[in-house]
């Protein structure tokens, strides 16, 4: 970017000025929204809502690539070209997308063998469905799945020659790495599958390799049995120790049964039990056909086999209904991730836990049974809630569970219906475990909506009353019609299961699915993680999420940057605990500033920036001003002297005035009250997905203990508002996102009052109890907290 001209700096418009940063930030927000909307449109096309053609895919890719590039451009403008790596990330994704459009195999096309850790959906045409599906289910989704590597389409082609040094070396390398990951060699299983596009994932053969030293020979023998009529890939799996094995068909139709899950379990074809299980929790056993077992057979439960005492005189099943229900949960979670019904293979490990060992597309013969047409649909009397916006279509049912971003994913039972206050990105890891998701606040264009669509979890956002659903009660969510019904609505669920069978296999749909895998997954979740870097952006969603977070960080620095070029601030002409200067960057003040360089006063009613006005309304609540003089001890004086010396030695930015940079719906406030420094950055628009309040607070005059107490008190107050806050010494960093506009303003009003109240409070905090006492007194005076019922937020 070219350096700012003098004229631009003087009028406050050029790069580096507050107005410039704010304008660039708004452009990034707008571009992000357009990207998310375009992604949502592609998602909905994949879901069957739109009829599209190849031209649509080409134009969508072109448009998205252009938008992402502009996002990178504006972020680099905001950061003085500090994010050049984001251009490379954009180009990498764009190249991948164009490769998909042209029918290529992607950036890994030259590799003979790929470890599961390197595989994601975009590698499916190269590595085949079985390997990629197990890699994604076991890796990104954290489901129990066999580890291994793929001999890719490139690898199988090379291995048909003998010798094939490069392919053999790659196999040896991956085999050694696989052994190292698990503490030594083990027997292997090979799964030969056709790779996309001819017959996606069709398994042609499997083979056991008891001695891994003979892997290359086994692979050659397997390939020799299958001429290269179409691209083939082999999943090489480390064979888990198994008590029992079987398969699980996630959708099966049988006479007089609702759509079910069909589980085969046994030690071989001869002794396999067949069980049909309900697709909805708690996955009741609908029907079973048990194999005859020898009387001395050991069941998985380690009980000896015994004849039942019932009149039917049936033997015991290999798996108890509880284990079958757990398998069903696992199968449906995999089905959502795979985008439709599939055939899964599993084993029970020595601990009795299921491990996935194979994934295949379902063969034909899955026509719904005619009975399905006669199951009644729910009526108005069954309806609990209606409204909200569809973030991901479909129907899901399960037990209600309140969640927030602090909920550990492992605590969420597979197949629950999650209810949350806000569609926070922090819920991303929980979503794949859910049967459906409801939030009170959120938008179908939000990050979490794309996560829901990626995981195919039916989701309604912005549905009032979601948090009021009784915890543990069974509900059915019809996200297509934006309704929630009591109980398990089997008619709706059957309709949805039948629709799942129509999952498109057309080439355009396959291409769209592959494109979306490079577009919508969000891999960078935590801005505080060392991995949160431009180089780690693997999808367009990563790019825009990264840019948004970095743009917010750049805005937070506004008040700390040199003031040249900021224009002329105007001082608030009201009785206030401290002076506040206001710089209008667009609609922040009712009247335009006087001539260049003038700093005429501004009355409260001239403040048209909604977030600044809310903050000032709180700040000017005189009843909350503490009038008593501060009691200073000797330690405070010495502590203060040390800090004042350091502050004097620091750059001038730390000793400026209290500056509010304000626009109609935006506030960036830097406060330098005595010896503490705080920043509030807030956006309050009609779109909750854009709204956020960031708060940073550091310093004080008193000794370190007292400053820490005040910081702890501030942190406690913020957490009571639903902020995600952390404290280090006397530094508090907190953020609250995804709020309705009114809620955002109420929070700012609270922060205004809190700022006035805590000014110089640190010197009064002689003991830990003082912090709690002052906080109680403040909360009592202030009254009800905004959004007090709200859960934690991002």
């Amino acid at each position: 970017m070219r350096p700012p001209g003098d004229a631009q700096v003087q009028d406050g418009q050029g790069p580096g000025t507050a107005r410039f940063l704010f304008r660039a930030f708004r452009r990034i927000l707008d571009l992000n929204t357009r990207v998310l909307e375009a992604m949502a449109r592609m998602d909905r096309a994949l879901g069957g809502e739109y009829v599209f053609d190849a031209a649509f895919l080409q134009s969508a890719v072109r448009d998205l690539g252009g938008l992402a590039h502009r996002v990178a451009y504006h972020l680099n403008g905001m950061t003085g070209e500090a994010e050049v790596a984001l251009y490379d990330a954009c180009l990498g994704v764009k190249d991948g997308l164009e490769d998909v459009l042209s029918g290529g195999l992607g950036s890994l096309a030259g590799r003979h063998a790929l470890a599961f850790a390197e595989l994601d959906w975009e590698a499916e045409p190269l590595a085949g469905l079985p390997a990629v599906a197990l890699a994604v289910l076991g890796g990104r989704l954290g489901l129990p799945a066999a580890d291994g590597f793929s001999l890719t389409v490139t690898g199988t082609k090379a291995l048909r020659q003998d010798p094939a040094p490069a392919a053999e070396a790659a196999i040896a390398r991956e085999l050694a790495a696989l052994s190292a990951r698990h503490g030594g060699p083990a027997a292997l299983d090979l799964v030969l599958a056709e790779a996309w596009p001819d017959a996606p994932g069709q398994v042609l053969a499997t083979r056991a390799v008891d001695d891994p030293a003979g892997l290359v020979e086994s692979l050659r023998a397997l390939l020799a049995e299958h001429p290269e009529s179409s691209p083939l890939a082999v999943a090489v799996l480390r064979r888990p120790a198994a008590l029992l094995s079987g398969s699980l068909q996630t959708l099966a139709f049988a006479p007089a049964l609702p759509p079910a899950i069909l589980v085969h379990a046994g030690h071989g074809e001869a002794d396999r039990d067949r069980s049909w299980i309900e697709r909805t929790a708690p996955h009741a056993l609908l029907r079973s056909r048990l194999a005859t077992k020898p009387l001395d057979a050991l069941l998985v439960q380690r009980r000896p086999q015994a004849l039942s005492r019932g009149r039917l005189m049936r033997g015991s099943a290999w798996l108890s209904p509880e284990r079958l229900a757990r398998l069903a949960d696992l199968g449906l979670t995999a089905e959502r991730a795979l985008g439709g019904p599939h055939l899964l293979h599993w084993v029970l490990d020595p601990a009795g836990e299921a491990v996935l060992t194979g994934v295949e597309p379902l063969a034909g013969g899955l026509d719904p049974h005619p009975d399905d047409a006669h199951v009644p649909l729910p009526g108005p009397a069954d309806r609990l809630l209606a409204g909200g916006r569809t973030a991901c279509g479909g129907v899901g049912a399960g037990a209600v569970l309140a969640i927030d971003e602090n909920t550990p994913p492992a605590d969420v039972p597979l197949g629950a219906v999650g209810v949350a206050r806000a569609a926070s990105p922090g819920l991303s890891r929980i979503v794949p475990r859910l049967a459906a998701l409801l939030t009170e606040v959120g938008s179908p264009a939000s990050h979490l909506a794309t996560v829901a669509r990626e995981s195919r979890v039916p989701a309604l956002f912005g549905l009032s009353g979601s948090l009021g659903l009784a915890s543990g009660s069974l509900v059915t969510v019809d996200a297509d019609q934006a309704e929630v019904y009591r109980g398990m609505q089997h008619g709706l669920l059957r309709q949805a299961a039948a629709a799942a069978l129509e999952t498109g296999r057309e080439p355009e749909v396959q291409v769209l699915r592959r494109l979306l895998r490079l577009i919508r997954p969000l891999n960078l979740h935590d801005p505080d993680s060392p991995d949160f870097r431009a180089e780690r952006c693997r999808t367009l969603h990563d790019v825009i999420h990264y840019a948004h977070e970095k743009a917010v960080q750049a805005l937070l620095q506004i008040g700390s940057t040199p003031t040249s070029g900021l224009g002329a601030p105007r001082r608030l002409a009201e009785e206030s605990p401290f002076a506040v200067d206001i710089l209008d960057v667009g609609g922040g003040l009712a009247t335009p500033a006087p001539g260049n360089g003038e700093t005429g006063g501004v009355a409260l009613d001239q403040v048209t920036s909604a977030p600044l006005r809310a903050f000032l309304d709180g700040l000017l609540l005189r009843g909350l001003w503490r009038q008593a003089p501060a009691r200073l001890g000797l330690g405070d004086i010495f502590g203060g002297m040390d800090r004042s010396a350091r502050m004097l030695a620091s750059p001038p930015r730390h000793t400026g005035s209290n500056l509010a940079i304000a626009a109609t719906d935006y506030l960036n406030l830097t406060l330098r009250l005595g010896y503490h420094f705080s920043v509030i950055d807030a956006l309050a628009t009609p779109r909750p997905e854009h709204n956020a309040v960031y708060f940073r607070f550091v310093g004080g005059f008193a000794d370190p203990e007292r400053r820490k107490r005040r910081a702890e008190m501030v942190r406690g107050a913020l957490e009571s508002l639903g902020f995600r806050a952390r404290r280090q010494g006397d530094l508090v960093v907190a953020r609250l996102k995804l709020l309705e506009q009114e809620h955002t303003l109420a929070v700012l009003r609270f922060l205004g009052a809190l700022t006035a109240y805590t000014r110089q409070l640190d010197v009064d905090l002689a003991a830990d109890e003082d912090a709690a006492r002052f906080l109680d007194a403040f909360l009592r005076e202030f009254g009800p907290l905004p959004g007090a019922a709200a859960g934690g937020d991002h």
């Binding site: 449109r41 096309a45 809502e49 739109y50 009829v51 599209f52 053609d53 190849a54 031209a55 649509f56 134009s59 498109g504 057309e506 080439p507 355009e508 749909v509």
Partner: protein, 128 residues
Amino acid sequence: MSDRRTSILVLDDEPIVCKRLRPFFSKAGYEVETFGSADEALARVRERAFDVVITDLKMQDMDGLAFLTKVKEIHPDTGVIVITGFATLETARESFRQGVFDFVAKPFKLADILDSVRRVEKEKGLGA
């Protein structure tokens, strides 16, 4: 109003469009035939009249505008709906000059194309 089913011919060289529209209109109670080639579609139009013709405008090696012009020459009463991803003002204007009833931009929702067909039916007094 007659009791007979409204007949629809769909022409698009993108198989996915025909594959989606055929079952959709059948389920909605229409008589549907789909074609991926303008020559075959035109041969069929010469054999019989359709109440509604849905055609893409820009196809590989095919001129949708020429096709719909022929259709209107043979059966002036047929309601023609144009679907295309290359919607420009000029092509839209030319389509309407040729007697096109409606213009639907790709990608489109199934409900949108159904709505368009129903308006043709209403205009021509078709359907049950």
